[in-house]
Amino acid sequence: MEFVSPEGLRLDGRRPMEMRQIRGEIGAVAKADGSAFFEMGNTKVIAAVYGPREVENRSQQISDQALVRCEYTMANFSTGDRVRKPKGDRRSTEISLVIRQTMEACILTHLMPRSQIDIFVQVLQADGGTRSACINAATLALADAGIPMRDLVTSCSAGYLNSTPLLDLNYVEDSAGGPDVTVGILPKLDKVTLLQMDAKLPMDIFENVMQLAIEGCKAIANYIRELLLENTKQLEYRRGP
């Protein structure tokens, strides 16, 4: 199948190095300590953060750092065909783990010993790149909850189809069977915290694809930083002089 037309346009009309429309919103869940809504094209997710608070299960308590937990759930209506999956299938468990490890790397856990931070991500609509969207939403939610972090974490995916590196794959491109590189970075420290790839790719091309994904991450980081700045300004304005 042709994923890039001779004119250099993808199936949804984007250029190979173009990202989908991204949109974020802080404070989607009133009762949570921090929450955010994040949208990458048709992929829509909500993240909520509860904590830091007392550890629920005493045996999991860590004496010198905070316990970070994460759960990823997909709504019944999130995919094209309606499927009723049991909770905690292997895919969700794996993604929960990936998100937890990525977020744990940026939270200053040693500042909050013997406490627990819960991150819940809910996919409302899935159209490829849910992993990345969830990580971006979780970053926003953690920042909203005021949890100390080393840096923001942002994530973006890139792939390689029809001998062209493509940024931010959608569902159709994702299921084409080509390589899919998901990268998460700490943009200010310039460190990679998450790297996943399936399928095979020659070394030199992999470097290009990964560089493309990193560029995507940086663009998202700029957007998230602007969003947080705007939010802080609003909070300051509301507090008054």
């Binding site: 909520a48 309606r82 909770k87």
Partner: protein, 287 residues
């Protein structure tokens, strides 16, 4: 889940007794709510309802299926509700299952009527394509994103809005289809049928706290309730379903009184909801 001190409990109860609740509302006033339709483009119809701090999404998906042999002239409707862990940490893992089942059951009682399909808010016979062979199966999914009390009323409103937003593709049945096998159908891509949702009831939950009852209780108020009665009332002012929850018993005369109050409140709610839905639909068409 809700940790309240003795003083806070007294404050809530005292406020309700004096007809001035903690957020300044009177006993029979709803919180302001807002409706957004078409939030899930992949579904046939969807809506998001925010009622104070409560936030729910309902989506309607239609699939072609076979009617049940006992009711060949009716389509099927299923309602499922999921409680997302984003709403409360206690819904993590399987923690939300009990509440989800309770809510799904209550909604089925209130909106779909009895087993025979009589008294359903949705006209099930309009879902039939070929009698006894092909019909539409509607899957209504509710998702609780954020919970601040009164989930049932919010879900009921969201489902009504989602059904109003729903377009079912027009189906052409191939002429001369043979008797036994499944008839060939052609699903149209650009012609949609809309539902008549004027008959879909709204749900009004009256929560009894102390000697009085209130509508649209918040999570804190719900934690103080002795019992709650949910009444679903259709646009014509008919009672479609009734559910009592909570431990304490109720005097039959109180229940009758509650029903008449619920009927009165539902008229205002129905008008408000209808205008919100049409505003949301107009807003969606513009964008």
């Amino acid at each position: 889940m809700v940790g309240l001190s003795v003083g806070e409990k007294h404050f809530i109860q005292g406020g309700i007794a004096q007809d001035l609740r903690t957020d300044g509302r009177r006993r029979l006033t709803y919180r302001p709510f807002n409706v957004e339709t078409g939030v899930i483009p992949q579904a046939n119809g969807s809506a998001r309802v925010r009622l104070g701090g409560t936030d729910v999404i309902a989506s309607v998906k239609a699939e072609l299926g076979k009617p049940s042999p006992s009711q060949p002239d009716k389509g099927k409707v299923n309602i499922y509700v999921d409680c997302s862990p984003t709403a409360a940490p206690m819904f993590e893992g399987r923690g939300g299952e009990e509440l989800s089942t309770e809510l799904s059951g209550a909604l089925q009682h209130c909106l779909l009527g009895g087993k025979s399909g009589a008294g359903a808010g949705i006209d099930l016979s309009s879902l039939v394509v070929v009698e006894g062979k092909v019909c539409w199966d509607l899957y209504i999914d509710g998702l609780v994103v954020s919970s601040d009390g009164n989930l049932l009323d919010a879900l009921g409103a969201a489902i009504k809005a989602a059904l109003t937003n729903t377009g079912i593709p027009k189906v052409e049945v191939a002429v001369g289809a043979s008797g036994d096998g499944l008839p060939e159908v052609d699903i149209s891509d650009d012609e949609y049928l809309q539902f008549d949702t004027s008959g879909v009831p709204v749900i009004v939950t009256l929560t009894k706290v102390g000697r009085h009852y209130i509508v649209d209780a918040t999570l804190e108020e719900e934690s103080q309730m002795s019992s709650a009665v949910s009444v679903s009332v259709s646009g014509q002012g008919r009672i479609c379903g009734l559910i009592k929850r909570g431990g304490a018993g109720l005097d039959p005369s109180v229940i009758l009184d509650m029903i008449s109050v619920a009927k009165h409140v539902s008229e205002q709610l129905m008008n408000k909801l209808d205008s919100e839905i049409s505003a949301a639909e107009a807003c969606e068409e513009e964008s």
